[in-house]
């Protein structure tokens, strides 16, 4: 009873979800205090809404790979490859003068998602079927996806798509862009998979101990392939958003997103050793990083490259702080 009483703030810090909500509120307040007028303006919110879905989706996908104790270094390049192939499909079949073609654009989105799924399955098969360590398998496929992207585009930027593409991805409902809705729906589905389904439980068990899962009669191959397939489709979705936002596709768009996505996943409470983590945490971390990024942008004298210092430093600090919080929690129990 006494223990219960004394742990008001401590209790919040013990639970990683409530820890994230607390951090979210603190960062929001700090940002508002630092740049009140600019930060709280509708324009800034619109700008933030436009930016986070593309790397947020990557972060959820990479976070899922981290939960099963692996990693996905190929996601960004799979995203680009899917939009390149979808873009080539459009080039091949669209003959209009820039108008119309909504149907074809929708089909090309489906193609992109399919490529994402295939790429993800390839990752899963290499990791679980052949037994290549996740880091190397996805490093190899990173090179492969990137390479095919370069081969298919000849190393240049693919553009000249129907206007319907840009119009669809840049659509807005009031203040809310459609990309935020896509992100929310995808996050919800991924969240249900990770937090509520049998597959989600199996993922965490596999991430904790992948020998124990064999002895418990689980199908390790299926767990890994499914996880990477979902991660690949999330990557493709992110690719579609980047493609539509700029109306162009390139083999190496967003190459800094890999690092940022890993940071977000770890910040969001995904254990880098595998076995635990939630999509809720990742989504909150995405929003925190976006707020920090926007506020950093408002200080125009800070070079954009300095953001890398913040991301890298934050990753290390968050890991160390989590270490001490978890240790304290263990000691009390």
């Amino acid at each position: 009873m006494n223990k219960q009483k004394s742990s008001g703030l401590a209790g919040i810090l013990d639970n990683s979800s409530s820890r994230m909500i607390l951090l979210f509120i603190v960062v929001f307040i700090i940002c508002s205090l630092l740049q009140g007028k600019n930060f709280l303006s509708p324009d800034n919110f619109l700008a933030m809404f436009r930016q986070f879905p593309e790397y947020g989706l990557l972060a959820i996908g990479i976070g899922m790979a981290l939960i099963i104790g692996g990693i996905d270094l190929s996601a960004v390049y799979l995203a680009n490859l899917s939009s390149i192939i979808a873009g080539l499909f459009l080039h091949r079949f669209y003959n209009g003068d820039g108008t119309g073609g909504e149907g074809l654009v929708l089909i090309s989105f489906v193609i992109a998602l399919l490529i994402g799924a295939i790429g993800g399955i390839l990752n899963g098969v290499l990791i679980s079927g052949l037994g290549i360590p996740a880091m190397l398998a996805t490093l190899g496929t990173q090179s492969l996806f990137w390479g095919f992207g370069v081969v298919l585009t000849g190393g240049s930027t693919l553009s000249g798509f129907p206007k319907a593409l840009g119009n669809m991805i840049n659509m807005k409902f009031g203040l809310i862009p459609i990309t935020v809705i896509i992100f929310a729906v995808a996050a919800l589905i991924a969240g249900i998979v990770v937090q509520k389904t049998k597959l989600g439980r199996e993922m965490k068990m596999y991430g904790t101990n992948n020998r124990a899962t064999i002895y418990s009669g689980l199908n390790n191959f299926k767990i890994v392939v499914m996880t990477h397939m979902i991660s690949g489709m999330l990557a493709a979705l992110s690719g579609i958003i980047m493609w539509g936002r700029y109306s162009s596709a390139k083999a190496d768009t967003g190459s800094t997103y890999t690092m940022q996505a890993i940071l977000i996943a770890v910040l969001g409470g995904v254990s880098p050793l595998g076995g635990s983590g939630s999509v809720t945490g990742i989504v909150l971390a995405v929003l925190i990083i976006q707020m920090l990024s926007s506020v950093l942008n408002m200080y125009t004298f800070i070079p954009t490259a300095c953001r890398q210092i913040v991301w890298g430093g934050l990753l290390l600090v968050v890991m160390i702080v989590n270490f001490y919080l978890d240790k304290r929690k263990k000691n009390r129990h």
Partner: protein, 334 residues
């Protein structure tokens, strides 16, 4: 060593593939075994080979270091821009860069050894940090090389000339540094107690601690060594290229790690050799540099690198799996 033992080694197969590859290129192009091509290859091998020695040690200890290109770039960029023209001798530049690299490596080593976090995530974070410091605070534009290092860059061991075409290439003195570094790496790993410790903690950390190895100290040493070497290599690279380019080493980490693993260095630790790391690097360099000679357009080079990584690591992964399975059968038979 008997032939039977030899055929069980990954290094043996990598060497075979390497030789086969050389012969294929020779047959297809007739240009492989020409003095200038060999010298060109050795020249492109220099930097990755040096990185591979440091990375191999980290991998054998059961960790991984993704931050050495960032450390190399930052240390090199700092000494070359902030100390431009201060010394007339190249040695202080190397020493200061090594000291900076050692400090940065120590940060990695401390966090990995104290908190037992996965080395990949820690070093990726550190990498982002150092690149940010370089690009955000020091600036990231190309810069003329200081004269002491420029002169060193012109020093060459030998010149290979193709008698038919008249093309010639110089082998810079840095290749000699690389050879020395490889020998130092070999000596530490195979002839010192420290080297035994690196293998021991990579094989089983708890057992190594029980056997009396200082796990924390060994991990600190490995990351400090890797960092100091990165500083040295960064300055080497600048003086070889004869210009200060802060960005052209970034991204090399993944190729170096893949090269080590191709050469039989285990990604989970405890296994590997200097020879393997060098052979793996040679294979990667050969593939990247010889596509033109094979008549394959350069846009394909990344696809081939990816295929080499997947096939190379796939083969050793399947071997490992089979070995484990036969082990299980042997145990259950008894």
């Amino acid at each position: 060593m008997s032939l039977k033992r030899l055929t069980k080694k990954t290094e043996f197969y990598v060497a075979l593939i390497l030789i086969a590859f050389c012969l294929i290129i020779q047959v297809r192009s007739g240009q492989f075994f020409t003095p200038n091509n060999i010298v060109d290859l050795l020249r492109s091998l220099t930097i990755p080979m040096m990185f591979a020695v440091g990375e191999m040690m980290v991998l054998i200890s059961g960790g991984v270091d993704c931050s050495f290109p960032a450390i190399a770039s930052l240390a090199m960029y700092f000494v070359c821009t902030k100390l431009d023209g201060v010394f007339s001798n190249p040695i202080p530049y190397f020493l200061i860069a090594m000291a900076l690299g050692l400090l940065m490596g120590a940060v990695n080593g401390f966090i990995v050894a104290k908190y037992r976090f996965p080395a990949m995530i820690v070093t990726l974070g550190a990498s982002s940090l150092w690149i940010g410091v370089m690009q955000g605070i020091l600036g990231s534009s190309e810069y003329p090389l200081t004269s002491a290092l420029y002169q060193l860059g012109q020093a060459k061991i030998l010149t290979g000339t193709n008698a038919e075409t008249g093309f010639s290439s110089n082998l810079p003195v840095h290749f000699g540094f690389a050879v020395v570094l490889v020998l130092i790496g070999w000596f530490i790993l195979n002839k010192t107690m420290l080297g035994r410790g690196i293998f021991a903690i990579g094989g089983d950390e708890v057992a190594a601690a029980r056997a009396g190895f200082n796990v924390f100290g060994t991990r600190m040493f490995i990351f400090c060594f890797s960092g100091a070497m990165a500083g040295f290599i960064g300055v080497c690279r600048a003086s070889m290229m004869m210009t200060v380019n802060p960005n052209n080493m970034i991204g090399m980490e993944m190729d170096v790690i893949a090269a080590c693993v191709l050469g039989g260095v285990s990604l989970v630790g405890g296994k590997g050799s200097v020879l393997g790391a060098v052979l793996g690097t040679a294979l990667m360099t050969l593939v990247a540099n010889s596509l033109i000679l094979l008549g394959i357009p350069t846009v394909w080079s990344r696809v081939f690198t990816g295929l080499i990584i997947i096939i190379g690591t796939g083969v050793s992964a399947v071997q490992e799996k089979n070995r484990k399975n036969t082990l299980h059968v042997a145990v259950s038979d008894q």
